[in-house]
């Protein structure tokens, strides 16, 4: 029997088995940011420890940076204290910091790949649950807590129990107007928000073969929303093409050797999986959430589920969700008024997200009364988007074009919902209060669906709004 990528990477990075049976795993790449690292550096100082491999640790600032205020000191002194702490810590411990003046700052999960730091066959850890994003490159990437950030800083290792591997195949072709975001929302809807517990998700099949690296990142990003600690796609020619020539990618003669090594990590054709789950791409439609967990989702043309249609175990949370969202079972989600439209985040804040959104937005206007913001995932994304004139498309339509950061995905910065505003959001979590108001409401969807909602002022089917031809089953190619 062959091995999965997960098992190959795990084996190569195992230091030893600990007394409690866990593995001491070497973490080749450590990404840090301002929210979950200051306490870890504090612990190192208290214990008199150093960063063991400072050259394998990379920092940036994303959660707290205001996206509408570039000058320091920031008006929020707590945010200023956090960015300053990261500057001081990275300087003292000798860690590379992509600060706001480097042109490379951005959301940590966007910066790693675009700098070429994220590579196949590696282990990556970051004090952030969306670290699974890096799995798009065939890396095993874990979101960790601050004590583990300390462990990785001090030893470049951490204690982990091995995971099982579930292969998720998405076969066939996605219909027009159906995106990577819809694929992952659909997977979570089917397998549940706790369904991935104990598993790494290996995504594959024709849909993933055809996906760009950025689409693969969108899916891997939300693995944790399905309860899976990490998710990955096997590396292929597209992966290598993406990495070629990036600042931290191997150069010259090292490149060919690296590609050969990277390719060897892909799961073997006869690899054994603990579980296999098959999905037909033709069954997936544009998907939106209606509740307070990412698993509470429907197709845009469906009505909201009646309580007795749901699994009995899900009814109490559904009831809670309907009350919180002020939505009613049995009614369509389409037509629900929105107050805010947000395009950005580590899920959908990359260049291709903006290109696709702008393609449809061009020539339209944001509906009166809707606050609409676009937040590039990084300074690099912002620069390229501006060079292509995408910022103008957004601002001419009535969107605000912002600086790079996490922004309204989690609202640790001035971008927040007010009261019970409802936000059409390209982000990853619709938890109660997630977007900064304890009563604020989030509806997750793809970037193009956010555009449709912004233009109409209500949750809409982007395929109708933009006149995208919906393929009818059976007549394709006729």
């Amino acid at each position: 029997m062959g091995k999965t990528l997960f098992h190959k990477v795990w084996e190569d990075h195992t230091v030893r088995t600990l007394p409690n049976g866990q593995t001491q795993l070497f973490i080749g790449t450590h990404l840090i940011h301002e929210v979950t690292s200051p306490q870890a550096f504090g612990m190192l100082r208290e214990l008199g420890l150093k960063v063991k491999y400072p050259q394998r640790t990379f920092a940036t600032v994303d959660h707290i940076v205001p996206t509408n205020e570039m000058a320091e000191p920031y008006s929020d002194p707590l945010a200023q204290a956090m960015i300053q702490a990261l500057r001081d810590n990275t300087k003292e411990f000798g860690v590379t910091f992509f600060d706001t003046n480097t042109g490379k700052q951005g959301v940590v999960h966007i910066v790693g790949p675009e700098q070429g730091i994220t590579q196949p066959g590696t282990t990556i850890a970051c004090g952030d649950s969306h670290t699974a994003t890096h799995g798009a490159f065939g890396a095993i990437a874990f979101g960790i807590g601050t004590s583990q950030v300390r462990d990785v800083l001090a030893t470049q290792t951490m204690a982990l129990s091995p995971l099982k591997v579930r292969r998720i195949n998405v076969s066939g072709k996605l219909g027009p107007g159906v995106y990577a975001k819809d694929v992952i929302l659909h997977i979570i809807r089917l397998l549940g928000v706790g369904g991935g517990k104990g598993y790494a998700y290996e995504y594959g099949g024709e849909v993933f073969d055809n996906f760009s690296m950025e689409e693969r990142m969108t899916v891997c990003n939300m693995s944790i929303e399905g309860g899976a600690r990490c998710g990955y796609v096997n590396p292929d020619a597209k992966t290598f093409e993406y990495l070629k020539g990036r600042p931290y990618s191997p150069q010259g003669a090292d490149w060919d050797a690296a590609v050969e090594k990277w390719a060897s990590y892909a799961s073997d054709a006869d690899a054994e999986y603990d579980d296999v789950f098959n999905i037909d791409a033709a069954d997936i439609k544009p998907t939106v959430t209606w509740g307070i967990t990412p698993g509470q989702a429907v197709f845009i043309d469906e009505n909201l589920p009646l309580l007795d249609e749901l699994d009995s175990a899900d009814r109490a949370t559904a009831q809670e969700a309907y009350e919180y969202m002020s939505l009613n079972p049995g009614e369509p989600i389409r037509g629900t008024k929105i107050d805010v439209a947000f395009l950005g985040s580590c899920t959908n804040g990359r260049l291709s997200d903006f290109e696709e959104a702008a393609k449809y937005l061009k020539g339209h206007k944001v509906a009166p009364g809707v606050k609409a913001i676009v937040v590039p995932g990084s300074q690099v994304v912002a620069k390229i988007a501006e060079a292509k004139g995408l910022d103008k498309v957004f601002t001419e339509a009535g969107f605000e074009w912002r600086g790079a950061g996490c922004s309204m995905c989690l609202a640790m910065n001035p971008d927040k919902l007010q009261g019970n505003q409802l936000c059409a959001s390209s982000s990853n979590r619709n938890f109660k209060g997630r977007q900064g108001s304890p009563t604020g409401r989030t509806v997750l969807m793809s970037p193009v669906m956010v555009m449709a909602a912004a233009i109409k002022g209500e949750i809409s089917d982007a395929r109708e709004v933009f006149g995208v031809q919906v393929a009818t089953v059976g007549v394709e190619g006729a």
């Binding site: 190569d12 195992t14 230091v15 007394p19 409690n20 049976g21 866990q22 001491q24 070497f26 080749g28 790449t29 929210v35 979950t36 200051p38 306490q39 214990l47 063991k52 491999y53 394998r56 707590l78 204290a81 702490a85 590579q119 066959g121 004090g127 952030d128 649950s129 979101g143 960790i144 807590g145 601050t146 004590s147 300390r150 001090a154 030893t155 290792t157 951490m158 204690a159 928000v193 706790g194 517990k197 104990g198 944790i224 929303e225 309860g227 600690r229 050797a257 690296a258 967990t293 175990a313 109490a316 949370t317 609202a411 640790m412 979590r429 109660k432 209060g433 997630r434 900064g436 304890p438």
Partner: protein, 199 residues
């Protein structure tokens, strides 16, 4: 490094925190994470669950006088899902929580809690129901979670509970925070680094 306490049992009064999929944003809203230490997080645990927008107490067991001082929480399925923020278990620990009994836990939250020496044990739905009933009718009585026997004692009745072996071993051996073990024999770490293609 100072030796860690061997955690063989946790005793205390309990409070039910009902609901499934309670995420870490709910346990500690992001706006309270604008800090460079974990000090003071205790008062913000479940803040938006406990208080409304005007700072008035909402109806919730965590606000009920009869549960004041409880050190064990009774929770539902997939508790602690979402963000990896250690601020969540840190805030609960500083709030006074020393153990959590639930139907299931999200993995990262579970690991973060274990590293703080705060066991998260699972029980069956029936057991959770019985424990909740007992706690609601006798909030003044203590529960004892025995990690050696993997049993919960509640007013003389015992119920089985579960904990993954690695976490249990770590807690019983006083090795729930792995750092001391990870720092040992660093030449082994370096040997792995040396053979990796990218380090």
């Amino acid at each position: 490094m100072a030796a860690l306490e061997k955690i063989k049992q946790v005793s205390g009064r309990a409070v039910p925190v009902p609901g499934d999929d309670v995420d870490t944003d709910r346990i500690i809203p992001a706006r309270f994470m604008k800090c460079v230490t974990f000090d003071g997080l205790g008062e913000y645990a479940f803040f938006d669950v406990r208080y409304d927008g005007e700072g008035n107490k909402k109806k919730h067991p965590l606000n009920e006088e009869r549960y004041e001082g409880a050190t064990i929480m009774l929770v539902g399925n997939n508790f602690g899902c979402g963000s990896s923020r250690e601020h969540a278990p840190q805030s609960l620990h500083k709030f006074g929580v020393r153990a959590i009994i639930g139907l299931s836990f999200a993995e990262i939250f579970f690991g973060n809690s274990t590293t703080l020496g705060m066991p998260c044990v699972t029980v069956s739905e029936d057991t959770l129901h019985l424990l909740t009933q007992a706690v609601e009718s006798h909030p003044e009585s203590a529960l004892t979670i025995n990690l050696e026997k993997m049993e919960i004692d509640c007013g003389g009745n015992t119920f089985p509970c579960e904990l993954p072996p690695a976490a249990r071993e770590g807690l019983l051996a006083g090795e729930w925070d792995a750092l001391a073990l990870l720092l040992k024999d660093q030449q082994d770490i370096e040997a792995v680094a040396d053979k990796l293609h990218y380090v």
